[in-house]
Symmetry: C2
Subunit: 760 residues, 2 copies
């Protein structure tokens, strides 16, 4: 990663960089908990039990504590007297829904605006509109009768009146490549200079944030602006990337901004519920697939882990619907269709023999998807450790030049990926004209070769592009690769059927040769599904998204089968999808939701023993000042408190500091050094002691060390825990934090931590 | 419920019947745990730590213990030496997938077979085929050109050569009503005599079973057969019920049977994962909606609570796809379409002004849905406490007579609900002919009146039917009610637009009056969505199911909006959907997944104090025989073990008994009364003691009493706990079981426990 990226984090503290495979029993408590380091963050509004802790960037929220704070707040809200008490819960809820509706509308508008911008920038690489610079090709040529030639749209050579064919091609290719470099370069400069977190897809980070990672800079208004603008430039530059993932990031930034504007940021869990809804809406807009968006939230973002999953799903559902409606209302393509790729023309039924090519496609998709993940991870690690890490803009400029040059040579690479996919998804229709000879039955082998070449080139380009310092999604390139392969397979099958119409295997085809039997366009959809299954390892959401794209009820089953087989094949080569791999590489504190099976170990395997913990011993007659000094010196998020060998509980440092701060001032004024205690019993016996027992966090779980490891992992996964204390017979025996569990679950991955940001 | 229903349970022990609103702090431990009573159930194959407990009917499984047993088993499987060790995990997995595929195929076949049977029985009420008794009307009339009159199908009066019009109507109505009574009556007799658990929809029970309730009789082969047969008869009788819910039950029975046949029953959690997949497949077949089926599993059955949600979803997905494929392959309707209701003909776009009638429809749907739930619950409670409870068959016969008589008078009630819905969902097409005058524009008011009358009659009929001693689903009647109301609203809107084509509000309509602007068929879909939303309170799955039915991408948004609004309206009148209400009435140990917010209470609110628990005091020099006697005398599932005031843990009675049984025989043979201990420490000091410390269940969680109540409830919900021990400083302070939490969450419902089976 670039030095620019490191800049903002330098001021805030770092996620720990762990070298390779540290023995889990062996690392020090400092290392394991250094990401919990808390500085002097400002404290939020006080509640009855003292202020809640503000979380520092790069820490993990304490889910149970946040829930308890929310409980407290709701109770206060409901217990108010009079009209205000009766109305404030309603008002609160109304404000929430207002923000949700606004978020939905905002995302719809942002999506539409991006579409328009990308189309215009992309067309600019080919030419311009005669009567206005800011028209894209479609808008420029609108209003023509079918068949009429559009004379208003001029290629650059026409515009500059270059006559010679050589001059024309040189000029056209020069503008094409130069603008690609300019777009990609400015996108990279924007990202590197103003918002380093706007690079990449954003989905790994959002997954981590939804699970409790604190990463507010990732959601800043600045990131929002740069990501949106940079995304439009990056997509228009013709690099092998898509807008889907980044659009989810943009949606989350927007929700975060709106929540801040309307004062809804008071609870970290509430914030995450809003983000989950916004992420669904982002997918909804990206694909024009509102149900797919909600499912994406459920499946990939695992929003079911919230304590009220129904409510979260529900809000995601409403936000998705509103976003899709706004997009449809704005209608950026003038087609009054929601979806990006209109899929039409393929026959209503499919035949059993087609399952054979589809199975092959699915297996190829799974293999290639798995390969793409591995190559992409290797490329990312190579980039990090090479000189390229220091020159991110140069890398983008250079690679966009390569991409543009290569793309200009292959006709299917030259066009925007979305246009290519839209054409590949469509059946050949004699009335509609041929797309670059794709429908020419005599050019079968040429087409198949071209399609496979395109797919392979795209695999290589995508491998490198996904991870450069520009906003980049992996969905669209994956779809394009799959669609090319699928179309190639479809053409082959069609050719085979046409040349052997009487073979027994094709007996199900209609005998009339003029009625098409095989629909190569649908093979593209199958190929796209297979490739997506291999890369993302999603299942349901993919099927729903592709179903919403195609709208073909009768074709749901083949899509399902292809996703199933592709996932099976890919899983055999490695269980993790591309987002999980990136999360592990960047070492975010995110727990995979997969079932963890221990091999008979107990929690003792990962428990940090009490000897290596920093513990407050309550019997030691600590003065308030000493306690404060202790907090300053250690700087952890919290500490177990032990009195005479008995575990009293866990206290959160920030909360305790905020409580004792005024007492300390009193002490300083009066000159008395008061002694404090966390034991109710001691406080009752000795009224001179300052009773801090109310500060003990009653939401921290205590377990015994001989609990099965699997159960502990399961609890961290299901309850979103931050830490668990271990005790035996009332005595503290150790502690496990989320980091320990994340490490346990990810250490086997090849590149775990390879992209974690180093401490400088 | 009938006395017949009570019979089989009488031998097995009862779910406790709680009278009204017992104070949660006040009930005795016996009452709270009586459903955990374990008899001398046979024990399963022993594992390294002794045999696992077999669960008695009507108990709740110990989720954590089952998971630990599964862990143990997997480990054993993997640790085997040689080829067998290498192959057995693969074989195990292959067997699972084999059962899943088989289940999918089986459900598809069952669904198709039911469709055929129902169609034939239903048509039999009108007439018979000339050339074969076992043909239904469609099969009988197949092969005709369009427009040709089918002479092969004869009404009963034609068959019996009755000429006079009076004679014809009397004969037709007599056969119609008599066969309705015969079908419904035989269905009720089958259910009451052979499989009382085959009554009703089955979804509340499946929800409870998936969450850990043990109810194997509900899944027996006998229930499978009777439910399938009884369902076909009940649907054909024309009672106001659907096949969707019962089909889910049938699917689960089938999966259970197949799992038993292929020896897969060894783990209760694995069994439940299979059932979850089967349930999805059931919905998939019932609606021809494979994605909707999976979502139904996620949303309504809450299958996300499994420890490996991805795997569960995945299996559900595969099973659904296979079931839908089998159904499509068998093609019972000869249409080569998956779906029950083909929705066609409505225009591609909708106009903004249509949102007004849709909002009204959605609100009406929500209101009526909520009303239907309340009326249905009241009817069920009334039935239970009245004389009808003793005469279930008579009730069914009587009510089917009333239904048939009323239905015969109203044309839209006379046809099968599914046919009515299919017609209502379809746009008027001049080429297709008019369905009972529905498309006659001059009969607008008559049609609206008839539709509303049909809807209201159906509400009343459904209210009573859903809960009688026959298999009955609530989905189809709800859809029919909504479709009638929607069509009525659509006709009104259409009429208004036709009479005022120039009004500003209809400005969006095409000026040409021959082009239809309002599509009343689609209003039916909206109405059905609204009604379903009000009754079931599902969101996503409904939208997906209706989307898969209609296939109209452009119309997803109106469906979403209608479900949203309907749920809002209905939620304002009571949060629970019809299945939750029934679960509460029958008092199954099922925890609603909704977020529970305490009002500042801690766990102490529901903890049964240590004084009222039956505890094993380890220091008391207990002999093995005494321990055995203690188990026999108390008969609970398990007991906390305390040694010198220190909580050692929790032991499961069955497991301990199985371990000490051979030791007892030794004692009896040798005449020595050995003393046992659960403390490792004591056993180490005194080698004469029998060391039982390994039997202490290491998966039981221990909490402190001052933990917030919300956290405890949340843990029970997320971790599927059975019980939690409470301790403070190593001393046992109390215990909370699932029953306590269920009671806490359901006691506010009006009819909680009203239908629980009483102890006799």
């Amino acid at each position: 990663m670039s030095t620019e990226l490191d800049q903002p984090s330098r001021q805030t503290g770092w996620f720990p960089f762990r070298n390779g495979h540290t023995d889990t029993n062996n690392y020090s408590v400092e290392e394991a908990e250094s990401y919990e380091l808390l500085g002097d963050g400002s404290l939020t509004q006080s509640t009855t039990k003292g202020p809640r802790p503000a979380y520092k960037e790069r820490s993990t929220i304490d889910w149970l504590l946040e829930e308890s704070a929310e409980r407290e707040r709701t109770r206060t809200l409901h217990s108010r007297r009079g009209l205000r008490g009766a109305l404030s819960p309603t008002l609160e809820s109304a404000r929430w829904w207002f923000v949700i509706v606004l978020t939905g509308v905002g995302i719809g508008i942002a999506g539409a605006w991006l579409d328009v911008l990308v189309k215009w920038l992309g067309d600019l690489r080919e030419g311009r509109c005669r009567y206005g610079f800011f028209y894209n090709q479609v808008a420029c040529c609108s209003g023509l009768d079918p068949g009429e030639v559009c004379t208003e749209w001029q290629s650059w050579s026409q515009y500059l009146h270059v006559r010679s064919i050589l001059g024309q091609s040189v000029l056209q290719s020069f503008v094409y490549i130069a603008l690609a470099i300019a777009f990609a370069g400015s996108s990279a400069i924007l990202v590197v200079t103003y918002a380093p977190y706007a690079f990449h897809t954003g989905i790994p980070e959002i997954k981590a944030i939804l699970k409790g990672y604190v990463f507010d800079q990732f959601l800043s208004p600045w990131t929002l602006l740069i990501k949106a603008l940079g995304l439009a430039l990056a997509v228009a530059s013709g690099l092998s990337l898509g807008k889907e993932g980044p659009l989810v990031h943009v949606a989350c930034c927007m929700a975060y901004l709106l929540a801040k504007l309307f004062g809804l940021r008071n609870n970290e869990i509430q914030k995450r519920k809003l983000l989950a809804a916004a992420a669904s809406a982002g997918v909804s807009v990206a694909f024009g697939s509102p149900i797919g968006g909600v499912l994406f939230g459920l499946e990939e973002l695992d929003t079911f882990s919230f304590s009220n999953e129904g409510e979260v799903m529900w809000r995601g559902f409403v936000t998705s619907a509103i976003a899709a409606m706004s997009l449809q209302y704005i209608d950026p393509f003038g087609t009054s269709k929601l979806v990006l790729f209109q899929v039409t023309g393929f026959s209503d039924t499919w035949r059993a023999f087609e399952l054979i090519p589809w199975f092959i496609l699915a297996a190829v998709g799974g293999l290639l998807g798995s390969l793409l993940i591995k190559m992409n991870a290797a490329a990312a690690v190579y980039r990090r450790n090479s000189i390229l890490h220091e020159w991110p803009v140069l890398e983008v400029v250079g690679f966009s030049a390569i991409t543009a040059a290569v793309s200009y040579l292959v006709v299917f690479l030259r066009v925007q990926s979305s246009e290519l996919v839209a054409q590949l998804f469509q059946e050949c229709d004699p009335n509609k004209g041929d797309y670059h000879g794709l429908c020419n039955p005599t050019a079968l082998w040429e087409n198949v070769f071209l399609l496979i070449l395109t797919a392979m080139t795209k695999v290589l380009l995508t491998t490198w592009t996904f991870g450069m310092m520009i906003p980049a999604g992996i969905f669209l390139p994956t779809i394009a690769i799959g669609a090319c392969l699928g179309r190639a397979m479809g053409l082959l099958t069609q050719g085979l059927q046409r040349s052997h119409p009487t073979a027994w295997i094709f007996a199900a085809c209609p005998p009339d040769p003029t009625i098409p039997c095989v629909s190569p366009g649908f093979y593209s959809v199958i190929g796209a599904a297979a490739m997506l299954g291999g890369v993302t390892r999603m299942t349901l959401s993919l099927v729903v998204i592709l179903f919403e794209l195609t709208g073909a009820l009768s074709h749901v089953l083949p899509i399902m089968i292809s996703v199933v087989v592709s996932k099976w094949v890919a899983d055999a080569l490695g269980k993790e999808g591309i987002y999980s791999v990136w999360i592990a590489m960047r070492q975010y504190p995110w727990l995979p939701p997969d079932e963890f099976r221990d091999k008979g170990q107990t929690a003792a395997q990962i428990v940090k023993p009490v000897e290596s913990l920093v513990v407050i011993y309550d019997e030691e007659q600590t003065t308030l000042k000493e306690l404060n000094t202790f907090f300053e010196a250690n700087g952890y998020h919290g500490y177990p408190v032990v009195n005479n060998d008995k575990l009293l509980g866990y206290i959160v440092a920030e909360k305790t500091k905020a409580y004792i701060d005024p007492l300390l001032s009193d002490d300083a004024a009066s000159g008395v050094q008061r002694i404090c205690t966390f034991s109710k019993h001691a406080a009752a016996n000795n009224p001179d002691l300052v009773d801090l027992s109310d500060l003990i966090d009653d939401t921290v779980l205590q377990l015994r060390k001989d609990v099965p490891l699997q159960l502990v992992v399961n609890m961290f996964q299901k309850m979103n825990l931050r830490h668990v204390l271990f005790s035996q017979g009332g005595k503290l025996t150790g502690m496990v934090t989320k980091t320990d569990v994340v490490w346990l679950l990810t250490e086997h991955l090849p590149h775990t931590g390879a992209l974690a940001e180093e401490e400088s």
